[in-house]
Amino acid sequence: MTATLTQHAEGVRSPAEIRRSRVLAIVYLVLAVLVLVAFGFGSEGSATFVLSRPGDAIQVGSPTIPGSGLAFVVSAVLAFLGARQWMAGFGSRTNLVLAIGLGLVAFSFLAWAADGASFSLVGLLQEAMKRAVPITFGAVSGLLCERTGIINIGIEGMLLAGAFTGAIVGSTLGAAAGMIGAALVGGLLAVLLAVLTVKYRVDQIIAGVVINIFVLGLTSFYTSQFLVENPALNNAPIMRAFGIPILSDIPLIGPVLFDQNIFVYGMYVLVGVTSFALFRTKWGLRTRAVGEKPRAADTVGIHVFRMKYLNVIMGGLVAGFGGAYFTIGSVGRFDENMTAGRGFIGLAAMIFGRWHPVGAISAALVFGLADSLQVKLGILDTPIPSEFLAMAPYLVTIVVVAGLVGRSRPPSDYTAYVKE
């Protein structure tokens, strides 16, 4: 079906568009009431946000913000946004406005949770950055595959396999070998995914789920089979944070962005390189052509299958390396199912980021923040049960996927390509 190309300018909004706008407006209003009631009347004192660490070269003051006052302001802003959304909508800026609105809610929430205490904002953001690492690697892995027309639901399994390999190889041969090993194992699983989906035309989702179950079973089996008895095999060196000279001295930004470990820096490099390569190089053009319209690529002599294999395997390498973060980059030891859904959250970040590496890392930071909030809030004495805080990243994922998938067009034709 060819969609009609004529785009009449402003004016007519489709009935579906209007409905969606109304729903969103109601969400704003509900949030406004919630913020007002829960945080506005629920806060008594003020929260102090700490912006520097004790050892930082340049110290910045720690602002103290009254929880209820902030909540009243935020609530008013939300009510305004809701009204505006109901009347006219925000057009192409809808997502951005929504993100800002949710950011305000989160800020107000923090002020309420840290009521009467001081809270290290720099610590929170630093943690968020770290926790964005596996999600970003997962998302970039996903988009490498998807840009070439393969859905990779197996990212979760690739991350887990990377974590496991990182632990064992890291414990025996050192951290560098652990990272390389983790990437290779991810690549190996990607070969399986590629063979199943490209050669045998297995449903892509089934193939990915198979990888997840297989890796979960295998790593659990080997963990109980020999890691438990040989703790020396499960004690990988942990990569330490190191500051980048000068940059790390910038207040707030320095410690958050430039005093991190190799995985965080690797994430920056990954996003930069893939962004450039996808949109500025011959390889990128061909990759996107194969994903968008494989037959068109085939008829100009591009080897469609070869491109798919290549990109899926690269995606596997990326996910495997990202998986090593869980062990080498974080705690050093492997636990059963320690990825806990991060691969799927990575997929959501990929969609939220509209299949662009920069979008993916931005979305991953949102998830990273949700993730780190539950850790940091555990320290504060909030009336919210910890189980509910632990649900937050999953709920955010559902909201993101539900809110955006229908409206963002995936860049690919996902049906198995059949060469004539």
Binding site: I153, I205, Y222, Q225, F226, I398, V401, A402, A416, E420
Partner: protein
Amino acid sequence: MTDQLTPSEVEPEPPEGSFFGDLTGSGRIDWRSNVLIPALAILSALIVGALIIALGDLDTLRLWRSSPGDALGVTVETVADAYGALFKGALGSVNAISETLTRAAPLILAGLAVAVGFQAGLFNIGANGQMLIGGMFALVIGFQFDLPIILHLPIAIIAAFIGGALWGAIPGYLRAKTGAHEVITTIMLNFVALRLVDYWLTIPFFQLEGRTDPVSKSVLESARYPELIAFINPRYRVHLGIVIAVLVAVGVWWLLFRSTIGFEFRAVGANPDGAKYAGMNVVLLYVAVMATAGGLAGLAGGDQVLGTLGRGTPGFVGVIGFDAIALALLGRSHPYGVVAAGLLFGGLSAGGQAMQATTDVGIDIVQVIQALIIVFIAAPALIKAIYRVRAEAESTQVSQGWAT
């Protein structure tokens, strides 16, 4: 010459057939793809599983370097012991069979939950979460009310179904209304359900009095599944659950292949655009399919709570919901195939437990073998290539990407 078109004249897209075309229609049975290939897939999975067991034995791996002959002997012995124990634990005694049937019941029900989704083109990975919520619903009825068994048990079972159905309907609704892919939403809801159950088990309404660890009150006897052969030996745990599971499978078969709503389920699964064109309400159908699937999973959770366990504990369904995916694929999404696959997996589970108890091989290997079975099942071409079986070439396509 026939009137058929050459492939080039037909539109280039591969036909979006229903999931496993040969079984979903009017019951044509192709023994090759429905019996021989699954059997070969299981065999292949066991062989690869043996290799994995061998690799997990570090001491023997070291032995390979000094004395390969002995190492081979030890390896063969390890694998043979493990599989021997597995087999004995599954079928070797009345108790083994009782265990197999006990474990098969929730697997069959959860497998049906996945299979119904497949038939309707939806990939329900959320059976675990649906089981948890269904189980908790059954639990509340089970300990909170004191009724005669004739009322109490049926109400508890219905509650399990409703709980699962509600939890399952959420991703169905999200998929239909927003296009959110059910694979992601169901996985996320699994985690949410897990946390929710953790939380519930710590509040006084659920928690067993006098306990600090998360254990629920026990289901009253009047809401428990009666044990079937405990009169022979009280050790034999097999209960009414397996009977219910098989009856439900028959019901699901009728629903899918004999009822109008089943026709709608299969139509929306095979071609959502076609279903919409034919006047079916696709939004409602997605919700109905996922609610039905969730309800079936809820029954599986109910089986755990009202039957095998008698109470709720954290994550009381284990990984049954994931095993269910493998067994739905093995059973080719057909209710009777699911029953057969459920019995097999029940045997693997019971046998795996016995194997773990008597040998050095852990029960997690069962999950690995199950994943391998799906690899081989999902790629029939692979099996055909390995064993040179001739059968209709087919590819499994249930998903069409992210867009609705």
